[in-house]
């Protein structure tokens, strides 16, 4: 049976990157399609009529929307190698908890580090570092959140690493002195091809953020 996999995505999206990494980890061959979000393709609108957002994973014509849902789907549909979620239910629950934490905190607060100024910016920077520090505690002295190999939380969190340079430059702060363990983890992740091939260059992301700031009329 033919396995047709299409990923509707947008190159700087950390959510899209999650699915790219998951597919790469599983060795799945797929067609990557970059969307112009100001001019969404008919396929995107058809496959994700409710949210009209990327990423959308289309497997044999059937869509899977929402990045965490899609990563779990990839893990379950291609369960012959590189499991992303652990097998023990308690550890799976912990992984899901921390993935949910990343979703609740990192994107929105991270956005504030490049989209706000003054007091709001200062508060956002503090909240951002606090959230990263909690993740550092969860990581502990494991090489990856998944233990000896990368797992669900690694896949969910690492895409934001290519946005750190933009956050730091726009927000005028430095993450590594505050979170050395997390940055060491990120660099370790970037050694993996499935991750380094799925993340765009941080300079390109920064230029994209500058363009967004301009469009939003910031500074």
């Amino acid at each position: 049976m033919a396995n047709e996999v299409i990923l509707l995505d947008f190159w700087p999206s950390p959510f899209g990157m999650r699915v790219r990494i998951a597919l790469a980890e599983k060795g799945v061959k797929y067609e990557y399609r970059d969307e112009d979000l100001r001019n969404k393709s008919p396929l995107l609108l058809q496959m994700n009529p409710i949210h009209k957002k990327i990423p959308v994973l289309i497997h044999n014509g059937r869509p899977v929307c929402e990045s965490l849902v899609a990563v779990q789907y990839v893990d379950e549909a291609w369960n012959d190698k590189s499991p992303l979620l652990p097998s023990d239910p308690y550890q799976r629950a912990q992984a899901r908890f921390w993935a949910d934490f990343v979703d609740k905190k990192i994107y929105d607060i991270g956005k504030k580090t490049w989209a706000t100024k003054g007091e709001e910016l200062e508060a956002a920077k503090k909240e951002f570092i606090d959230a990263l520090k909690l993740l550092e505690v969860e990581l502990g002295n494991k090489p990856y959140f998944g233990g000896e190999t990368i797992g669900y939380v690694d896949v969910v969190l690492i895409p934001f690493y290519c946005w750190f340079y933009a956050y730091e430059t726009c927000g005028n702060f430095s993450i590594e002195p505050e979170c050395p363990v997390l940055i060491a983890w990120a660099k370790r992740c970037m050694q993996k091809e499935s991750i380094s091939e799925s993340l765009p260059d941080q300079q390109k992301v920064y230029e994209f953020v500058l363009m967004m700031r301009k469009n939003l009329g910031i500074e």
Binding site: I50, H59, V69, Y73, A77, L134
Partner: protein
């Protein structure tokens, strides 16, 4: 076989811990309940959920699990009877999608913007909620429950629509889930509520009304029109 110790930290009113209660009851799992007063959180709650400091927390043999949807998947994996999620990966993905949709797009809007705001902000929230309810109505086509013939994860996640939602409607004096517009959703609400486990677990309605009414009053200050 070792004794299983299962405890649920909950409040009497919140729909989130109620999901966990339903799941455990449907699966016939024995458990203890710890009622929390969120204005005076117990040291145990803060110890078991230091990150969010919220209910529900499920404590299983001394190990805590937090976040209601995470707990539901854990419960489903630990106790296999009365499965909440289907086996097929694509069907599982759909269930997860709808559970998230309910929380992000309907529940959030109802308890925050519809209940706690007024004027244009509230109107826009009502319009948005109705738009999103239409998607749920559509999803019920040809099905008795979101889970199919029997209830599943999505029914449990959306269960608050069958009870708490109406309390908000009554307080704001606006009916969003009208029979004509949402015949399938109304039918589902009745079927869902008719399940004995569900029926037996609802919080007292008058107390819930008072609680939500006080939230609205507090949010709007002195100038509550109703």
């Amino acid at each position: 076989m070792a004794e299983e110790e299962v405890k649920v930290f909950r409040t009497w009113s919140s729909p989130f811990p109620l999901r966990v209660i339903w799941a455990l009851k449907l699966k016939g799992v024995e458990f203890d309940t710890v009622y929390e007063d969120l204005s005076n959180k117990s040291p145990l709650l803060l110890q078991y959920n230091p990150v969010h400091k919220k209910v529900p927390v499920l404590l299983h043999n001394g190990k805590p699990i937090c976040e209601s949807l995470v707990i539901l998947e854990y419960v489903d994996e630990r106790w296999k009877q009365f499965p909440l999620l289907p086996q097929d990966p694509h069907e599982r993905a759909k269930a997860r999608f709808w559970a998230k949709f309910g929380d992000d797009k309907v529940l959030q809007t109802m308890r925050m913007d519809v209940l706690l705001k007024q004027g244009k902000e509230q109107e826009e929230a009502i319009v948005s909620t109705i738009e999103n309810l239409k998607y749920l109505e559509e999803e019920l086509k040809g099905k008795k429950f979101f889970g199919g013939e029997t209830i599943g994860l999505v029914d449990i996640a959306l269960g608050w629509l069958a009870y708490h939602f109406n309390v908000v409607e009554e307080i704001i004096g606006v009916k969003l889930i009208e029979q004509q517009k949402f015949p399938l959703l109304v039918a589902w609400m009745q079927e869902f509520s008719n399940i004995p486990t569900i029926q037996d677990s609802w919080p007292p309605r008058d107390k819930l009304f008072d609680r939500y009414a006080s939230f609205r009053k507090a949010a709007l200050g002195e100038h509550t029109p109703k």
